[in-house]
C-alpha cells in the first residue's frame, strides 16, 4: 500500500487535530477525538512493528524453552517445553502470531511457576534469564505517545 499506512494514519491525525477538532463544540466529542488521535498514532507504530515484535517474542520464548527443558524437574512439563521449542510460525498474520504468542506465554507462566518451586544456583540463573526476556519484551513493546501540545 502506497502511501505507506503509518504515513496515512499520521496524516489523518494531523487532519483531525487541525481541521476537525477545532470545529467540534461538544466537550465530550472533543475528548473522544483527542483520544482517537493518540490511538491512531499508536496504531501507526504498531502497523510497522507488530509482526516483528510478535515473531521475535515467539522465537525468544522457544529458545528459552529449549534450555528450560533440560532444567525443570517435572518430566511432563519438560516434554511440553521441548515440543514447543521446536515450533515455528508458519504464518505472519498478526492473528496467527498472536495465537502462538498466547500459547507460548501460557507455557512461560507454567515454566516460571516450576522454577519458583526449585532451588539451586543454575535454576536462579535461568530464572534471571526468563526475567531478562520479559523485561526486554516489555521494553520492546513500549509505545511513545506524540505530544500534541
Amino acid at each position: 500500500m502506497k502511501p505507506q499506512v503509518p504515513n496515512v494514519l499520521r496524516g489523518f491525525v494531523g487532519t483531525l487535530l487541525t481541521e476537525i477538532l477545532p470545529n467540534l463544540s461538544a466537550e465530550y466529542s472533543m475528548g473522544n477525538a483527542a483520544v482517537m488521535c493518540q490511538s491512531l498514532s499508536v496504531i501507526a507504530d504498531e502497523f510497522e512493528r507488530g509482526a516483528e515484535i510478535r515473531f521475535r517474542e515467539n522465537e525468544e520464548m522457544r529458545a528459552l524453552f529449549a534450555e528450560a527443558a533440560k532444567i525443570v524437574a517435572d518430566k511432563g512439563l519438560a516434554t511440553r517445553l521441548l515440543d514447543a521449542s521446536t515450533g515455528r510460525d508458519a504464518s505472519l498474520l498478526i492473528s496467527a502470531l498472536d495465537r502462538s504468542n498466547a500459547a507460548l506465554a501460557s507455557l512461560l507462566i507454567e515454566l516460571q511457576v516450576a522454577l519458583e518451586g526449585m532451588t539451586g544456583a543454575s535454576v536462579h540463573a535461568f530464572e534471571s534469564k526468563v526475567w531478562d526476556y520479559l523485561v526486554t519484551a516489555a521494553d520492546r513493546r513500549k509505545f511513545t505517545l506524540p505530544s500534541f501540545g
Binding site: N32, A102, A105, I109
Partner: protein, 346 residues
Amino acid sequence: MEDVATRFAAYLQHRMPAVSNVEVSGLSRIYGGASRETYRLQATWEEGGVKVVRPLILRRDPVASLIETERDIEYNAYVAFHPTGLPVPEPLFLETDLKWLDRPFFVMEQIVDSAAGSAFNADPYGGNAERIGRQFWSHLGKIAGADPKAIGFASALEAVAPGDCWRVELAKWEKVIDEDELSPQPIARAGIRWLKRNPPPPAAKISVVHGDYRTGNFLFNGNGDITAILDWEMCHLGDPLEDIGWALSRLWSQEAEERPGGMIDREEALRIWQEASGIKIDRKALLWWEIFNMVKGLAIWISAAKEYESGTNLDPILAFASWIPTDRHNRILAHCLADLSRGAHA
C-alpha cells in the same frame, strides 16, 4: 441531550416541591470518568420569589464501564467527607428509580473555575506543582486518618480485618484478571505470585481507601488549590497504604519515580502523608502495596480491553486504556519484579 435536560428538570421539580419554574440549561457531557456518564448543567428555579441559579453535576450509570462500580458508594463517600472539610462536592440527590433518566444517577454541586490534570501531560500543574502536591498528600493523609465510623461511612462499606486487607484486595483483582484476560499475562501473574509469597503485615489501622487517588481524579484552580477530590467509586475499607501505592505509581508521572504525579518529591510526599494521617509508614509493607497497585492497574486495563473487544462499550478511551497504560504498567512491573527476583537470589 434536550430530552435529558427536560426530564432532569422534571426530576428536580419533583425533589424540590417548594420551588417553581425549574429549568435546566447548558447540559453538556464531560469527557473522562469512563465509569459514569457525567454531565455539567445549570439549573435555575424560583424560591420564595427569588431566582436561584445552581451549577450542578449529574452522574448517570453507564450501560457498561471501565470499572464495575457502585454508585451508592461514591455518593456516600461525598456524604461522609463533605462535612469534614475535605474538598469534595456537596452531594445533593441519589436516585435509583429508572423512570426519571432510564438509569440510576446522582446529583452533586458543580465545582467551578477548576480543572483536572492529565497523567499523559508531562507537566500537568506547571508552577503550582509544589503547592498542589503538598495538598494532594495532606488530603490523602486526612482520608487515611479519618475514623470511618465517626464520619458515618463504615456501615456503607464492607468490614475487613487488618490482617485480611491485602488478601481481600488481591483476590478481588486476581479474579478480574482471571475473568477478563484476552491473552495470558506472564508479568501480571508473576506479580500475583510474588504478592502471595510476600504478604504485608496487618494494616496499622482500617481506613477509608479512596481506591483511585491520583492525577486526573481531583480538580484544582488557578491559585493552585485543590478544590475537589473526585471519583470515589472504588472506595472501600482497607489498609491506608493501598492509596499511597496507587498515588505513587510511575504510571501517573511519565514513569518517573522521584516526583509522583509530577508534583513533589517522593520522600516529602510520604512525610506530609504521615504527618496528616498520624500513621507511620512501614516501607516493606508499602513496597507490597506498590506492587499490588501495578497488578490492580493491569487488571483494570485488561478489563477495559475485554469490554471493548466484546462490543459492550466502544468508548475510545477503553481501547486507549487497554493499550497505553497496559504497556506502561507491564514494563514498570517487569523491571520491578526482575530486580526483586535477582535481589532475592543475590
